[in-house]
Symmetry: C2
Subunit: 465 residues, 2 copies
């Protein structure tokens, strides 16, 4: 360590001591073993840095305190929700502070205004449960909904399985309290539904991945709970046939779920927890319809017909919500089942629905070319796919090939007029591919907006902007 580094390190130690003093006991963690869990998100990326400290804020005031302090000392801040992110957006950075909202978990339901007022550390499932006590529903449902936080959902504009009918996180955010880089707390929107007063800053903060501010409170729109869904499960000889069915049903049907699993995904779930899925099918479609009353049966008939006309091997329909939920759980196990087999680079590419067959073919080609396994699920009705690139941890050659495949899958989506990320976010894992999608002019707009809101670049450095 030279003299300059030594001086910087001493200054950082002093700065952290100042922060510890400014906040209540137990809010700031500095011990190396306590910090370990704040280094990683679900990408488990070995390139994660080591933070100076982790702050478990308990109030918006703590968040303001941290950001004022960080601005004063020029110390970067990595905001963190539940750490379930799949794009490396919350990976720690050397010399930074991790600012966790895990302790801010209040959820209040206002039935008359039909909103939930939520702190960012509340889990998605906490909001769903609280709303359901009043017959209300918070729709966005990432597969990780039982462990992911609302703050993270907002930061990534999270999607899920019901988006195909009910939309994504941004469609449900009516209001936000946000602490800016300099510690200023601003309130955007509120409990009202329609609002065009000024620029759409509310929507700008949604999906900004901690690069523009830290959300300390959200007002979320709730809707009356829909009727229980009927479920259609169809197997196909190939993913191409399944994709054709998706396009076909999309012409007329507003299904509440249109999920695709390829053969490798079905088999890895069956290996992990046998559920009697057809291991020989080239692909499986899982469709739900939730129109009220007798109309649901009509929707099911449309879904069944679309599968049959597209060459389905078998089509099974059930009106039993519990039986349907069993299939949905199988689908949700995809990522967990894969993780049990090795390390996973989770993809999240999307294309216009009509280009889905081409994307699926491209992914198959990439898997073969690089000799890697890429089991896949897709929110097929939205054209949003999750190829999961498997590699052997510690095997450099395996990891190298996986990363090549990861980049090529993104390139394939871009070539098909699509996106490198439909719902996970860019984070650190995809930051290098963003400009290939957006082009230099849109990248420059991203940088200008970032600079306007976080002029000293304190927030989530090394992330996408």
């Amino acid at each position: 360590m030279d003299a300059v580094d030594a001086a910087a390190a001493a200054a950082a130690v002093d700065a952290v001591a100042e922060l510890v003093d400014a906040l209540p006991d137990g809010v700031v963690a500095t011990a190396p073993d306590a910090l370990e869990k704040y280094r990683f998100d679900w990408t488990h990326d070995a390139r994660a840095g080591t933070p100076l400290a982790a702050v478990r804020a308990e109030t918006a005031g703590h968040v303001q305190e941290v950001l004022r302090w960080a601005s004063r000392h020029g110390i970067p801040v990595v905001p963190r929700g539940a750490g379930s992110g799949l794009s490396g957006g919350a990976l720690a950075v050397d010399g930074a502070i991790v600012l966790s909202t895990e302790r801010m978990r209040a959820v209040e339901i206002d039935t008359a205004a039909r909103v939930a007022v939520v702190e960012p550390g509340a889990l998605n499932v906490d909001v769903k449960r609280a709303a359901s006590e009043y017959g209300l529903w918070y729709p966005p449902d990432p597969s990780s909904y039982e462990i992911c936080s609302i703050g993270g959902n907002i930061a990534t504009n999270a999607g899920g399985l019901c988006c195909v009918k009910y939309g994504v996180t941004t469609d449900y955010v009516l209001g936000l309290d946000v602490v800016l880089a300099d510690g200023t707390l601003v309130t955007l929107g509120g409990s009202y539904v329609k609002d065009v007063a000024g620029l759409s800053l509310l929507k700008l903060f949604v999906g900004s991945e901690g690069t523009l501010g830290v959300v300390t409170r959200a007002t979320l729109r709730l809707v009356p709970a829909p009727p229980p869904p009927a479920t259609v499960v169809a197997t196909f000889p190939s993913v191409a046939a399944a994709a054709a069915a998706v396009i076909e049903l999309g012409r007329t049907l507003r299904a509440s779920m249109v999920e695709l699993m390829d053969q490798a995904s079905v088999n890895s779930v069956e290996d992990f927890r046998p559920m009697g899925l057809d291991r020989d099918a080239g692909a499986l479609l899982l469709i739900q319809c939730d129109a009220p009353g007798a109309a649901r049966a009509e929707e099911v008939a449309v879904a069944v017909a679309a599968c049959e006309v597209s060459g389905a091997k078998e089509v099974f329909a059930t009106e039993d919500p519990e039986e349907g939920e069993m299939f949905v759980q199988a689908r949700r196990l995809h990522f967990t089942a894969l993780e049990a087999r090795g390390a996973v680079l989770p993809e999240d590419v999307g294309v216009p629905v009509p280009r889905l067959p081409e994307l699926l073919a491209a992914v198959e080609g990439i898997a073969q070319r690089h000799g890697v396994q890429i089991p896949m699920v897709a929110h097929a009705g939205d054209g949003n796919t999750h190829p999961a690139i498997i590699y052997t941890p510690g095997d450099d050659e395996s990891e190298r090939r996986a990363r090549l495949a990861f980049d090529e899958v993104m390139a394939a989506a871009i070539a098909l007029g699509g996106t490198i990320t439909g719902e996970h976010g860019v984070g650190r894992l995809k930051a290098g591919s963003l400009e290939a999608q957006l082009g230099p002019d849109v990248m420059e707009l991203n940088r200008r907006v970032k600079a306007a809101l976080d002029p000293h670049g304190i927030l989530n450095p090394g992330s996408f902007v």
Copy 2:
């Protein structure tokens, strides 16, 4: 005119000559009589300036040409759609250019991707008609949908009557081509549904009222057309009772329309075109339900019960879509009927739905206090109201009282935790009240983002930011 002014005027004349030369014949209008119609929007505000020229762009290239030219000469640009705006966002400015997109009207439907690719001058109704040929639907439906343009809808994030169930313009914008202040054309989003690659710039441009860029193409999400609605018309002794019914039905029902007309609005529509509405009712609610099949009757029953329990005088329900549409047309006539009576300052304030009775009471009080008539309709299910402040054109005292009332209605909405504009935009009419709602910190964020995207302030100066 002093020497400096004379030199500036001569320079402007030269600049306009340069623009006329750069664009095809007939694209640039400079004759005073031709310019007259580009001075005003539907606010007919006498404070409108006189532009140097009006450019009727025919291609995105023309728009780029204009903005490059404007940046070079430091000449401001007022973007303009169909001129049906109600907030003065397209009022001309002395010494500026009006940039109209009225000639860019192409509409293409892609049924497989379920999108419309639309030029900004296309009318809302053009998109609806083109989509309906394929059994598809573009939901946003401002009352002016037959005469307002998609570009204006995007600029204001326009709402309408079906928003209460189907959302507003921003919920349907998947992609935009935007020409920035310096003439750069950027493409944001595309034909894919889910996208979180980079900051949500797409959403930032929606509702930016021509202050950040000029939209030259939009990709709009379409949905399968819903079944025909049933209609419930209920009369109430007072607006308070009608508002109570709105809150009651909102607890469990997703109606596809929940409109309120007060007695004065009902009577002015009846004066304009007699339709047999109940002139004695204190308020009228117009509710539509469009659940498929037998479920629609269940929804109607919920709506009827909510009206009855809230003290409705009469409740009428019809399953005949044409009969229902007749009532909707009566509702849509509100503004036209009022304009036949005198000049109107159209309000657009919104509050959380539970505060609706307080807002309606406040508006009544303001009308009485200032001795002005304020007939009102409301997209009541969204808490978004349109008090219409009537004044006598040319009568200074009448206009003064109307403007006082206009400001006080906004103040009342802000005091109730609401917004000064739910769907019309801030424009020039409400620019002075924006900070009262947003506060200085959020105003500063608006200014910073504006400066980041339009550093020389070329776009729509004198508007809200």
